[in-house]
């Protein structure tokens, strides 16, 4: 059924009885043209664009838990395209354009809200760096604005502008940035993919790979039996190394934990996204009223999906330094997710040296915004056996050739990206 005002009214009048499940609970078939491992945002988006853009519909998304149970359902939902480099900014801007049409495209309310993302600067050097970034964004067709202190004051008068150590001097504003409802993004892609014939197989864990005599990957082993496939694409975020270890493939990735926090519900207080430029802190307010905020990764290898107290303290201190009035707000929940931190802080969307195996990984703490473009580019790479221009720089062998995409310029140290 297509969702519309009419379907809403019809159901309202008939006791909401004709709604159908948004996707089928598919059992795995013996074989598919393409198997996508991982039912997060990226895996589901990939399946959707494979079916929609390339007519490849004999596709399964294999998820070990329920879809969206990984980082797709744990992130702080910020979407933006304020990157710097030629290798990544056109990709993220393409993602932003796909966000802008997503709800109509998949016929699902993903609550995409372009409420603006404001990065604050606190020194002259930081303002210069933002000016450079703002220009680079515009060269890729993104929007950007530099605000002086009065400009920021007009938006958020309650910031601690005259903070003795970190006075707020201005900011880089992307008005088209904002937030989207993470679960609804997962459900929307799942429903749209299902309607094009994609099987979404939940509670099915990939435990190994089926290889042919030449070593090519021709399927997966799962706890529900073997499933054969023409091509296998991995989109398992923080679990990537665990799966490639079964192929004796080591990757330029470390898994780290990132925490996030939500407060009790409040009346409207912060209508956009604000990031602190002098410490690790960013904040927005959900439609339910909770302040959603977070900071840096904990900084050590972890698969635990929970973090430690030093980061909690650090985030709280940074928040207080920027917005003193949140000091009396009570915390409702905190949680953690496992990030696939790459060695240059940028993702990989590529074929691998193993025939039949394709890789989508290395999203660090910023892969939610990338969901539409990641699915779109990974589908292209799977369908055409070659990258699209938009993901051409996101190669696996860039670490060998030296063509890194190191946005921060900090080197091969994942906990600094």
């Amino acid at each position: 059924m297509r969702y519309s005002v009419l379907s809403l009214l019809a159901n309202a009048l008939t006791g909401q009885k004709s709604w159908k499940p948004a996707w089928r609970d598919a059992a795995p078939k013996p074989s598919y043209d393409v198997i996508i491992v991982g039912g997060g945002g990226h895996g589901l988006a990939t399946a959707y664009y494979l079916a929609k853009e390339h007519g490849i519909r004999n596709v399964a998304v294999i998820e070990k838990g329920w879809i969206g149970s990984g980082n797709a359902g744990r992130n702080t939902t910020i979407i933006r395209s304020n990157y710097l480099l030629p290798g990544n900014e056109p990709f993220y801007e393409w993602s932003m354009k796909l966000w802008e049409g997503l709800e109509q495209d998949v016929n699902y309310n993903s609550m995409v809200s372009q409420r603006g993302v404001l990065n604050l600067c606190h020194t002259d050097a930081q303002r210069d760096a933002y000016a450079r970034r703002a220009n680079s964004m515009r060269m890729s067709g993104a929007d950007s604005e530099l605000l002086d202190q009065d400009g920021v004051r007009a938006m958020y008068p309650f910031l601690d502008f005259e903070n003795a150590r970190f006075p707020v001097k201005g900011g880089l504003l992307q008005r088209r940035g904002g937030t989207a409802r993470h679960d609804a993004v997962v459900w929307g892609y799942a429903r749209a993919a299902d309607r094009l014939g994609v099987d979404i197989v939940q509670n099915c864990e990939v435990t190994g790979f089926i290889r042919d005599a030449q070593g090519a990957v021709v399927g997966v082993e799962t706890n529900r039996g073997p499933i054969r496939a023409g091509k296998v694409g991995l989109a398992v975020a923080g679990s990537t190394s665990r799966l490639t270890a079964k192929l004796d493939m080591r990757l330029p990735i470390e898994s780290h934990v990132l925490q996030a926090f939500v407060s009790e519900g409040l009346k409207p207080l912060i209508d956009g996204v604000i990031t602190f430029g002098a410490g690790h802190f960013y904040i927005s307010q959900s439609d339910k009223g909770g302040l959603v905020f977070g900071g840096d990764i904990d900084g050590y290898n972890s698969y635990a999906q929970r973090g430690n107290l030093p980061v909690v303290e650090d985030v709280a201190e940074s928040g207080m330094a920027l917005i003193p009035r949140i000091g009396r707000v009570r915390l409702l929940r905190s949680w953690g997710g496992v990030m696939d931190m790459s060695m240059d802080g940028s993702p990989i969307i590529d074929k691998t040296p193993i025939p039949g195996l394709y890789l989508n990984a290395g999203w660090c703490y910023g892969g939610f915004k990338a969901t539409p473009a990641s699915g779109w580019c990974f589908a292209w790479t799977l369908a055409k056996d070659a990258p699209h221009a938009r993901n051409a720089a996101m190669r696996l062998d860039r670490f060998r050739t030296g063509h890194l995409i190191d946005e921060k310029g900090v080197g091969a140290q994942p906990n600094l990206h």
Binding site: S241, A245, R250, N301, Y303, R400, Q413
Partner: protein, 88 residues
């Protein structure tokens, strides 16, 4: 998380800075195949879910490098040794 520094005793992880996998070894730049060996050393990691040997620096303490054995699934720490005493 508290790290049992062999020199200072059980200390809060906050006092330490993390470097990463302690099992990778800097290759000999003069050996044949050094370019590939350096690529592996600088960029590739086992990244295991389970037992992990890793380097921490006790910056707010004795300033020693410490090799910690920690489970990446639970954060449980099995032990720690001074890096200079670990035989390669």
């Amino acid at each position: 998380m508290r790290i049992p520094c062999p020199y200072c005793g059980l200390r809060d992880a906050h006092e330490f800075a993390y470097l990463g996998d302690a099992t990778v070894k800097r290759p000999d730049p003069a050996a044949p195949g050094a370019e590939d060996a350096f690529h592996d050393y600088v960029y590739l990691r086992d990244n295991p879910a389970g037992a992990h040997k890793e380097l921490w620096y006790h910056g707010s303490g004795c300033r020693s490098w410490v090799v910690v054995a920690r489970d990446t699934r639970t954060h449980a720490i099995a032990g720690a040794e001074l890096a200079r005493e670990v035989t390669p």
